[in-house]
Structures are given as structure tokens and as C-alpha cells.
């Protein structure tokens, strides 16, 4: 067996077409997860009675199980639930008419929520307690202080972690191919089996992921420089 190098380039262009789907599977969960994360963090920091334990369990369970499980549980479980509900309440929807992608996005959003909440919490806790006190001392409400003073600083502190979670989810999105999504890995799989050139196809996919990772690291480095101007200390 020999490696067909020209075919890597052919595969590259073919697989690259699947990039938009990979981006959707990466970014949508991260955005929804961010909102979930904020909610969970507030519940956990304020120790809201009743749901506080639930929030803890949510984070612990999703962080303690592989993302593949989340996708499979939602993909297999939610249709059962929906059909049951449809039957009971005489809805006209059928689970089979819901695209699988939607289940994937839901599952990964839940995954992202758990990881995001940890990042946001760490960021908020890393902001100097004095900042909150100073904000309150000039008469801000707790919410104002959180929104205007603590949160922006927390985001700046969390940038490296946010970059990591983006890269993490870019890679996690590859699992979606197991439930036959035609994102980068799924596309690579198709190109591979259609041409019986497995190694070449996966090399091409690897190059695309690698390139995307490097780009996002560079972008983060740039962002970090801009965001943390105030952190640099010394005299400008």
C-alpha cells in the first residue's frame, strides 16, 4: 500500500465543503452553552435553594461522562419522549421528522453548558473581591456590579479557557459523524470509503482540523493582547 499524495489534495477540497456544518455543530452548542453556563453559575454562586443541588449534579454528570453518551442519550431518548407526548396530547409532530442535527445540537449544548459554567465560575471567582466592593461602594446594585464590573473582567480572565473550550468542541463535533452527520469527519469518512483511500482522507481531515486549531489559537492570542491592556501594568 502506498500513500497517494495528490489524492490528499483532492480529498482536502472535498472535505473542506463540510466545514460549515462543523462550525454549526461547534458554535451553536457553545453559544447556547454559554447562556446555560451563566444560569448555572448564578445558581451555584448564589446557592439558590432546591435547584442548587440539581445544578451541581448537572455539571458533575455531564463533565463525568463522554460526550458520545450525551449525543446518544438525547438522540435515542428524546424521540421516545416526544412521541409519547405527541400521543398523549395529540400533537401532530413525529420524532422521525426532526432532523438528527437538532438532537446533536441539543446534546452538545448541554455538554457545553456544563463546561462553560466551570469556566465562567472560575473567571468570576478570579476577579478580585475588592472590585465588587469598590463597585458597591460607589452605589451600584449587586446586578450592576456583576454586569458592569465583574463580568467583563471575568471574561478577560477566561479568554484562554474559552479558546480551549472552542478547540475542544471543534474536536468534539467530530463525534457527530457517529450519528451520520456529514461534517468534516463524516465527509472524510465518505470520501475515504468511496475511493477506498482511508489514510489519505483522514490526513486531509487532520490537516483541516489542525489548521483551524492553529488559527483559533492565533486569534485568541491577538484578542488577549487587546483585552488585557489594562492588566499589563507598568507605565505605558
Amino acid at each position: 500500500m502506498q500513500i497517494d499524495i495528490p489524492f490528499i489534495f483532492t480529498a482536502l477540497t472535498e472535505i473542506f465543503k463540510a466545514l460549515p456544518l462543523t462550525m454549526i455543530i461547534t458554535l451553536v452548542p457553545l453559544m447556547i452553552g454559554f447562556l446555560i453556563g451563566i444560569g448555572i453559575t448564578l445558581i451555584r454562586i448564589r446557592k439558590v435553594k432546591g435547584i442548587y443541588r440539581l445544578a451541581n449534579f448537572y455539571v458533575s454528570f455531564l463533565r463525568g461522562t463522554p460526550a458520545l453518551m450525551h449525543i446518544m442519550l438525547i438522540y435515542l431518548g428524546l424521540p421516545l419522549l416526544i412521541d409519547k407526548m405527541a400521543e398523549t396530547f395529540h400533537w401532530s409532530i413525529q420524532s422521525t421528522s426532526i432532523p438528527i442535527l437538532l438532537f446533536v445540537l441539543m446534546a452538545l449544548s448541554l455538554t457545553a453548558g456544563a463546561y462553560m459554567s466551570e469556566i465562567i465560575r472560575a473567571g468570576i471567582l478570579a476577579v478580585d473581591q475588592g472590585q465588587l466592593e469598590a463597585a458597591e461602594s460607589i452605589g451600584m446594585t449587586g446586578f450592576q456590579a456583576m454586569r458592569r464590573i465583574v463580568f467583563p473582567q471575568a471574561i478577560a480572565i477566561s479568554l484562554p479557557n474559552l479558546c480551549n473550550i472552542f478547540i475542544g468542541f471543534l474536536h468534539t463535533s467530530s463525534i457527530a459523524f457517529i450519528v451520520s452527520q456529514k461534517e468534516l469527519t463524516g465527509a472524510a469518512n465518505i470520501v475515504a470509503s468511496n475511493n477506498l483511500k482511508f489514510l489519505e482522507a483522514y490526513i486531509a481531515a487532520a490537516l483541516i482540523y489542525w489548521g483551524l486549531t492553529i488559527i483559533s489559537e492565533k486569534v485568541t492570542a491577538l484578542l488577549e493582547k487587546r483585552v488585557t491592556v489594562y492588566n499589563r501594568g507598568g507605565v505605558a
Binding site: L73, S174, L199, T213
Partner: protein, 231 residues
């Protein structure tokens, strides 16, 4: 959904847990060896090798484990065929162990390097001031402290690898998930199988976390915050 099936599946799946753990242990062992070597190459900036190490780390960090798994599974036989070694019939476990080992190696290397750089400069100076040479300083003063500092990150990385092993079934490994798939084929109760698998993974992760945090406390007794002697 049938809850009783979960009870039924549980023993069938957990009897394959040892394969999952075997993959993990092999990966961590391979990863530790690679990690220490690569970290040293990076710390001492060994000419030539340092660049290779950088590319290796960047690639492992830059690609999904699934793709790495496929690359090794399809690539290694091709590569070894060049030197007339035939591994095309080897147990897929071998490929999994190598892939996860390489992946662990890259993360361990960066964790170790970060921790070594995190040891205060004063420790190095103190070691030199009592007449230690570079090797003694590294082995007796820096590494022991660095490894303890690296422990929490190391623990996270190991737990991450455990979760990654759930993808090994894609190249036909008969671990828990692989066994789960055969159960699905015979019982047609996929959801119950995945619920059972999730419970087992969660249990193992919780146990690992508990174990790690206990050893962390023991390891870091000199790091303070514990028992500050007030005598």
C-alpha cells in the same frame, strides 16, 4: 423504555470495564514516558528535537482524537509495511493504546513543562548555592515539586482520556461501548444500553476523582493551607 433492562445490561457491560481501564492504563503509561521525554526536550530546548516536539504537541492538540485514531489505525500498517512488518491483523487494542498514549504524551509534556517553569526561581538558586549541579537540582529539587504541582492537571487529563476511550469502538475494539453495540444489535434497546454505559462511566469518573483528590492531599502536604502548625 424499560428500566429492568438496565439492571439486566449492567453486569453484561461492566464485565467489559477492564478493557476500558486497560486502554486507559496503557495510554497513561505510554503517555508518561513520552511526556517526560518531550518535556525535557522542550525545557532544555534540545536543537532539532525541540522543533519536532513542538510540531508533535501542536498536531495532537490540533486534531480530534477520533481522527488520530483513524490515522494510526490506517496509517501505522502502511508505515510498518515499508519495513516489512505486518500489523494489519493486529488486535485493534494495540492501535487504540498507541493513539491514546501519543495523545496523553502530548498533554503530559505540556503539563510537566508548565509545572517545571512554575517552580520558583529561588528554589533553583538555593540548590545551586549549596553546590548542587544541574542534574541534582533538576532531579532532587525541581521535578519533585513540579510533579506535585502538575498533579491536578494530570488527573484532569487522565479523566479526559477515560472519556475519550468511549470512541475506541469505532475501530472495532470490544470495550464497554463495543460490547454495548453488540447488545443493541441483539436486543434493539439502544437507549437502555447507553443509559447503562453512562452510569458506569460516571461511576468510574467519580471514583477516579475521589482517588485523585485523596492522593493530591497526601502529595501536597508541604504546599500549605493544611495543618499550619501553631505550636
Amino acid at each position: 423504555m424499560d428500566i429492568t433492562l438496565i439492571v439486566d445490561f449492567f453486569p453484561k457491560l461492566i464485565s467489559y470495564l477492564h478493557i476500558t481501564l486497560l486502554i486507559l492504563v496503557a495510554a497513561v503509561a505510554i503517555g508518561l514516558v513520552i511526556g517526560v521525554v518531550i518535556a525535557l526536550i522542550r525545557i532544555y530546548k534540545v536543537p532539532g528535537f525541540n522543533q519536532l516536539a513542538l510540531i508533535y504537541i501542536s498536531f495532537m492538540r490540533g486534531t480530534p482524537i477520533l481522527i488520530q485514531l483513524f490515522l494510526i489505525y490506517f496509517g501505522l500498517p502502511t508505515l510498518l509495511a515499508l519495513v516489512h512488518i505486518d500489523v494489519s491483523r493486529a488486535n485493534p487494542l494495540l492501535f487504540v493504546a498507541i493513539t491514546y498514549g501519543l495523545s496523553c504524551g502530548a498533554s503530559f509534556a505540556e503539563i510537566i513543562r508548565g509545572a517545571v517553569n512554575g517552580v520558583e526561581k529561588g528554589q533553583t538558586e538555593a540548590a545551586y548555592s549549596i553546590g548542587m549541579n544541574e542534574k541534582q537540582m533538576m532531579v532532587r529539587i525541581i521535578l519533585p515539586q513540579a510533579l506535585v504541582m502538575a498533579f491536578p492537571n494530570f488527573a484532569n487529563s487522565v479523566i479526559g482520556s477515560l472519556k475519550d476511550t468511549s470512541l475506541a469502538f469505532t475501530i472495532g475494539v470490544m470495550d464497554m461501548v463495543g460490547r454495548g453495540n453488540t447488545l443493541i444489535a441483539s436486543s434493539l434497546h439502544a437507549l437502555e444500553v447507553y443509559i447503562t454505559l453512562s452510569i458506569i462511566y460516571y461511576g468510574v469518573v467519580i471514583c477516579l476523582e475521589k482517588g485523585f483528590s485523596l492522593s493530591e492531599k497526601k502529595l501536597q502536604r508541604f504546599e500549605g493551607s493544611l495543618a499550619v502548625d501553631t505550636k
